[in-house]
C-alpha cells in the first residue's frame, strides 16, 4: 500500500485517483436529490414537465406580442429550443452554486473529493434537461416539424452546455462558501441572464456589430444559437464569431473554475 502524506499546502496526485474511486458518489448524490425532490408531493414527477412547459408558454407569448422573429418556424418551437438549454444552464448554475452550502454537514464530517458535489448537481439538472428534451420532441411531432440534418451535431452542443454549467457552477460554489452574498447574486444573474441571452429573441435581432459582439461574450448565447441551428434550421443560423467566443469562454470557465475550486477546497471545512 503506498504512502499518503497529509501536509499543509500539498497538492495531491491522489485527488484525481480519489475522484475515480468516488465515481459512484456522483450518481448517488444526484439520485438522492432527485428522490427527495418529489417525495411527499401529489403531482410528483409531473412537476418536471410543468416547469418547462410554463416557461415555453411565457416566452412564446412575449415573443408573439413583441412581434419578434421566430426564425421561420412555429413560435412555440423557437421558444422551446431556447428554453431547453437555458433552463439546463440556469438550474445547474443555481443548484451547483448552492451544492456545497447545502451539503455543509457532509463537508465538515466526511471526506470525499469536493468536486463531486457541484458535479452531481449538474447531473441532476441534466436529468431535467432530458425530460424537457422529450417534451420538445413531443412538440415537434405536434407541429409535424422535421428537424434538419444538422441534428447530429446536437450532442456537441449538449456537451458544451454541460461544460458551461459545470465551469460556472464550480466558481459560484467555491465563492459561495466564503461569501454568502452569492446566495442573492445568483438569482439575479439568472434573471438578468434570461434577457441577456437569446432565449426570447434571437441573436440576429441584435443589430449593430459591436452590440452583437458584446452580446456574444455571454457563453450561453452561442450555445442557445447552436441548439436552434441543430434542432430547427431554416433562418436560425450560427453566428460564427459568437460560437467561437462561446467555446473559448466555456473552456476558460471550466479550467479557471477547477483551478479556483481546488485552490480554496482545503479551507472549505473550516469556513463553511
Amino acid at each position: 500500500m503506498d504512502e499518503l502524506v497529509i501536509e499543509a499546502g500539498r497538492t495531491e496526485r491522489q485527488y484525481w485517483r480519489d475522484l475515480w474511486h468516488y465515481r459512484e458518489l456522483f450518481f448517488f448524490l444526484a439520485w438522492r436529490d432527485l428522490l427527495i425532490r418529489y417525495k411527499q408531493t401529489v403531482v410528483g414527477v409531473a412537476w418536471a414537465l410543468i416547469r418547462p412547459a410554463l416557461a415555453i408558454l411565457v416566452v412564446t407569448f412575449v415573443g408573439q406580442v413583441a412581434k419578434l422573429s421566430a426564425g421561420g418556424v412555429p413560435h412555440a418551437l423557437f421558444a422551446a429550443c431556447g428554453v431547453l438549454p437555458w433552463q439546463f444552464f440556469s438550474t445547474a448554475l443555481s443548484e451547483s452554486g448552492n451544492s456545497l452550502v447545502n451539503n455543509s454537514n457532509l463537508i465538515s464530517k466526511v471526506y470525499f473529493p469536493r468536486l463531486v458535489a457541484p458535479a452531481s448537481s449538474v447531473i441532476t439538472s441534466f436529468v431535467d434537461f432530458l425530460i424537457t428534451g422529450a417534451f420538445v420532441g413531443i412538440l415537434m411531432i405536434w407541429f409535424h416539424f422535421a428537424p434538419p440534418a444538422n441534428i447530429w451535431v446536437l450532442p456537441a452542443f449538449v456537451l458544451l452546455a454541460f461544460a458551461a454549467s459545470f465551469g460556472a457552477g464550480l466558481w459560484i460554489a467555491a465563492l459561495m462558501v466564503k461569501y454568502r452574498d452569492f446566495r442573492f447574486i445568483v438569482p439575479f444573474i439568472v434573471q438578468f441572464g434570461l434577457y441577456a441571452s437569446p432565449v426570447i429573441e434571437s441573436t440576429s435581432d441584435v443589430h449593430g456589430k459591436w452590440q452583437r459582439l458584446i452580446f456574444c461574450l455571454n457563453p450561453v448565447a452561442g450555445i442557445i444559437d447552436g441548439f436552434r441551428w441543430c434542432l430547427l434550421g431554416h433562418d436560425n443560423i450560427i453566428y460564427w464569431p459568437g460560437l467561437i467566443s462561446s467555446i473559448a469562454g466555456v473552456i476558460l470557465l471550466v479550467l479557471t473554475g477547477i483551478w479556483y475550486f481546488r485552490k480554496t477546497e482545503r479551507t472549505f471545512a473550516d469556513v463553511i
Partner: protein
C-alpha cells in the same frame, strides 16, 4: 505484520478567531463615525480591520506512531484537540504545519448518520450513507443483509428515516459504518449516543474489527471503561499538545488525577463543600498511617489501605457515622463502608476525634483511585467530601506474581482453587487434591 501505518510528525493546526474590538459604544458615536467616514464600514468589512485576530492553536507539535492492528485510544478534556486530530487524519481539513504519513485507506466515523436524509427510507439511506463513506454499490449490495441484521430494523426498512426513533437511527448509522472495510478506522465519540445494549454491540464490533480482521482503530471517547476495554495504547492530549502516550491505565490516571501532588497529611477544612450540610461535625484532616513510614499515597498491591481521619464535633450528638467509599479512576464506586457497622459507640461529644481506618487488603489492581468521605448523624448529613483523597496502588512482587497486568477488572483477590479428579462414575476419586 507490525509496520507503522500512521506516523504523525510535528502536526500543528491553528485557527484564526476574530474578536470584535470594543468600539466606542453608544449610538451617538456610531452615528458620528458613520457620518465622518461614510464608506468606512465597507472598507472595514473588506479589510476586516474592525476585528482583532487571534491565532488559536488547536494542535501544536503532536507526534506519535501507530502500528498495524493496534487499537489506540485518544483522550483529553473538551477542547484538547482530539476532534481536530481526527479531522486532519480524515483529510477533512488541512494541517497548518507538520505532516502525517498514512499507509492504508482511512474511513472515519465522526458523526453518526452523516449524509442520512430524513425523507429517504432506511433502505435508500443505507445505500446513500455507504456511498458517502466510500463504498461502491456492489459492496453495499453484498453487505446489505449483514447491515440490516446488525441494526435490527428489518421491519422498518421501507419507512422514511424521519419516522425512526433516535435509537433506531443511531443503530442504522453505526451498522453502515461498521461494515466499511478500511485499513484504518477512526471513530469519534459516537458511543455517546445509544443505550447500553447498543454500546456493547459497537464495542464488540470494533474489537472484532481489530482482532479478527487486523485493522487499525483510532478511538476517541470520554467513556474510560470503553477505552480501557478496547485499547492497547492511549494518547492523552492536553490543550493541543501531546501529554502522554503509552499504557492505557497510566494515561487515564494522568487524565483524571493528580495523585503525586498530594502531601502525606491533607487539610480538609479549606476544601469547598457542597450545599445542604449541617457541619456540626466536620472533617479536619486526613493523613497516612504513621506506622507506614511513607509520605506518598501509594500502596503496593495487596497491602492494607490504612489512613487516619481527624474530625471535630461542635456539639454533643448521640449518633453519627463515618462512611468511606473508594472509587475507580473511571468513577465507579467499588467499595463502601460505614463506621457504625463495626463500631459500638457512635456518639460524639463536643471535641476532636481521630479515626484509624483500615479498609483491609482489597487487592485492588494497580492504578489510580479516589476516596470519598461522608459523615451522617440522625439529624442529617453533617459533612461530605467527594474525591477527598486520591491514592495509587502500585505494582509489587505480589502483583507480578498474580500477573495483574493481564486483568482488566478492578480487583484480584487470592481466590481459593481446589481440584479433585473425577472417576468414571462422575464421583470425586479418593482425595488426591492439588
Amino acid at each position: 505484520m507490525n509496520d507503522t501505518v500512521i506516523r504523525v510528525e510535528n502536526l500543528s493546526k491553528s485557527y484564526v478567531i476574530g474578536h470584535q474590538r470594543n468600539r466606542h459604544d453608544g449610538l451617538r458615536h456610531r452615528i458620528e463615525d458613520a457620518l465622518r467616514h461614510p464608506f468606512g464600514w465597507l472598507r472595514n468589512r473588506i479589510h476586516e480591520r474592525q476585528t482583532e485576530k487571534e491565532e488559536f492553536w488547536a494542535l501544536k507539535d503532536v507526534s506519535f506512531e501507530v502500528k498495524q492492528g493496534e487499537v489506540v485510544g485518544i483522550i483529553g478534556r473538551n477542547g484538547a484537540g482530539k476532534s481536530t486530530l481526527l479531522k486532519i487524519l480524515s483529510r477533512i481539513t488541512d494541517p497548518t504545519g507538520g505532516k502525517i504519513r498514512l499507509h492504508g485507506r482511512v474511513a472515519s466515523l465522526l458523526e453518526v448518520g452523516t449524509g442520512f436524509h430524513p425523507e429517504l427510507t432506511g433502505r435508500e439511506n443505507i445505500f446513500l450513507n455507504g456511498a458517502i463513506l466510500g463504498m461502491t454499490k456492489v459492496e453495499i449490495k453484498r453487505k446489505f443483509d449483514e447491515i440490516v441484521a446488525f441494526s435490527e430494523i428489518e421491519k422498518f426498512l421501507d419507512t422514511p428515516v424521519k419516522r425512526y426513533s433516535s435509537g433506531m437511527y443511531v443503530r442504522l448509522a453505526f451498522a453502515v459504518a461498521a461494515h466499511l472495510e478500511p485499513e484504518i478506522l477512526v471513530v469519534d465519540e459516537v458511543l455517546a449516543v445509544g443505550d447500553a445494549e447498543f454500546q456493547k454491540k459497537c464495542l464488540g464490533k470494533m474489537q472484532n474489527v481489530s482482532e479478527q480482521e487486523g485493522r487499525t482503530v483510532l478511538f476517541v471517547s470520554h467513556n474510560m471503561e470503553a477505552i480501557l476495554r478496547l485499547c492497547q495504547r492511549c494518547v492523552l492530549l492536553q490543550q493541543g499538545k501531546l501529554d502522554h502516550i503509552g499504557d492505557v491505565k497510566s494515561a487515564i490516571a494522568r487524565y483524571t488525577g493528580g495523585v503525586a501532588k498530594q502531601p502525606g497529611e491533607i487539610d480538609l477544612r479549606k476544601r469547598p463543600r457542597t450545599g445542604g450540610l449541617r457541619q456540626k461535625i466536620q472533617f479536619r484532616k486526613v493523613r497516612l498511617d504513621a506506622a507506614s513510614h511513607t509520605n506518598a499515597w501509594h500502596f503496593p498491591f495487596g497491602a492494607h489501605l490504612k489512613f487516619e481521619l481527624e474530625v471535630e464535633s461542635q456539639a454533643a450528638i448521640p449518633f453519627a457515622e463515618v462512611g468511606v467509599s473508594v472509587f475507580s479512576a473511571t468513577g465507579l464506586e467499588i467499595i463502601s463502608t460505614l463506621s457504625s457497622n463495626v463500631m459500638a459507640d457512635n456518639s460524639f461529644k463536643p471535641r476532636a476525634y481521630v479515626y484509624s481506618i483500615d479498609l483491609g487488603s482489597l487487592y485492588l489492581l494497580p492504578g489510580a483511585y479516589r476516596i470519598s468521605l461522608g459523615l451522617r448523624s440522625n439529624f442529617g448529613m453533617e459533612d461530605y467530601l467527594c474525591d477527598a483523597v486520591e491514592f495509587e496502588v502500585e505494582n509489587s512482587e505480589l502483583s507480578a506474581k498474580f500477573r495483574t497486568d493481564t486483568f482488566a477488572g478492578l480487583m484480584s483477590p487470592p481466590a481459593t482453587y481446589l481440584r479433585h479428579e473425577l472417576n468414571h462414575n462422575g464421583e470425586p476419586a479418593l482425595l488426591k487434591s492439588n
